[in-house]
Symmetry: C2
Subunit: 271 residues, 2 copies
């Protein structure tokens, strides 16, 4: 019996399509960008040079993505079997297309595929709806004919004064957003330390107040808001058990030193 | 009188710090990546080669960012004047640091700076708190000593099986997330067309029903759910005024052709 495909498997239902790429190095950079984000399906439409050593060099260890890349002579062929086609473009034009942000387009793609997988949990992952993200040639982007084959246009937000996003960078940012859209903003393995118990924190403040009264930093007659401010400082983030022990140890060392000095001072007075 | 700084100005309070970069081409790629996202403040700590023609070549038109880059001999110097320091790292280790996702770290940075600007709207933008995002050397990332100078560690989510994110790509994705964090997911200039009015849509369905009855695609005695399904199909997205006109024109052309053919058929029957 097949399992419901994981989100990582769903990400495999994304195809990156590069149209008429001029510099083979950019194909390699795209392959590497895809693989870092767990996307493997690369389609090339009429690349100027491919295969090419510049592509292989830039791909580094992602050359398997290049090896498995499919080459087509038309975008229409590259889109066969795709259900949701997003064209990346920086141009704003009077096209009868919806144009959304990159983030919105990746969320839509993830929604379409994830929803399908939720309704048909036992379906073969190869039968999932496929989403294609289509990138045009370096100098001029997607042609009008290519844009017409897309169901949605998406734009990577850039500084309007310098929108010169390299093809490899555009693919990198897109694949990053796709990973985020499919997997969510995964919490990083958190740094974990047991938190201090309430009573230990309160004992710390009692200790602190006693120590500060001894050093006369705190005048019990005119306490101002000293203890409140220290309490705010120390509890702004939850105190860990070890941190409370550390602070208690520090206070003890002060008190001990203070006691020794007092003792020495008394002795020297007597001598 | 000074104006409250815009979100674009706030983004200028971000510094990108590259430590011990080996390949000058990566410095150029980072400069270009920064500028596409509206970030200009680049600090270089002990770069192996800088200035260097590879940096200039990869920066393309972002060479102004390189020209203004400051070079330091220690990370500590590069962080002077910074209030919030994020170290980018792929390693998970037993450090007493919080480690969060890239997105979370950029949202925190944007929050700190935006909140300050909201409380002090007339402050000189140069006095805003500065956030530094620190990247280590290509092969091994940030050293333990460098990590200790960071207040937060962040991780770019990648495929655990292939986390080989190029330095330029890491800077690109980080600057993209910073722009998103500061400016929000800006809606793209929407494609706008006036929507159809309710009465026009209803008239369309009356017209459609009449036409389909003529072609006998719709049998008024056994309508099944045909009209409901067509209604669902056509109103899934809000119909535009022009689309309703288009469909009405199409139906009229069918009806006209049908009338002509009927007329011809009648004539041929008679002849």
């Amino acid at each position: 019996m097949s399992h419901s495909p994981s989100q990582t498997t769903l990400l495999r239902a994304v195809r990156i399509v590069l149209c008429s790429t001029t510099h083979p190095g950019n194909i390699g950079a795209a392959a590497r960008a895809m693989k870092t984000m767990g996307i493997r399906d690369l389609a090339l439409v009429s690349p100027r040079f491919f295969p090419h050593e510049d592509a292989t060099t830039r791909a580094t260890s992602a050359s398997d993505v290049l090896d498995q890349a499919q080459v087509f002579t038309s975008l229409e062929d590259a889109l066969k079997g795709c259900h949701f086609v997003v064209g990346l473009t920086s141009r704003r034009r009077d096209l009868s297309h919806d144009m959304v942000s990159l983030r919105e387009s990746t969320l839509k793609a993830a929604h379409v595929i994830t929803q399908h997988a939720a309704v048909f949990p036992n379906e073969d992952p190869h039968h999932l709806p496929r989403a294609a993200f289509v990138f045009g040639t370096e100098m001029s982007g997607l042609s009008n004919e290519e844009l017409d084959l897309c169901s949605l246009l998406a734009n990577v937000p850039t500084d309007p004064d310098f929108a010169s996003l390299n093809l490899g960078s555009a693919v990198q940012v897109t694949c990053y957003e796709l990973r985020q859209a499919f997997l969510g903003d995964q919490p990083v393995q958190p740094y974990f330390q047991p938190l201090a118990r309430h009573e230990d924190i309160e004992a710390l403040f009692v200790h602190l107040e006693r120590a500060l009264t001894q050093t006369q930093f705190l005048n019990p007659q005119k306490p101002k808001k000293l203890m409140e401010r220290l309490r705010r400082l120390l509890t702004r983030k939850r105190l860990e058990q070890e941190e409370v022990s550390l602070l208690r140890g520090l206070l003890k060392s002060f008190e001990r030193t203070l006691a020794q000095r007092t003792h020495q001072a008394d002795n020297s007075d007597q001598s």
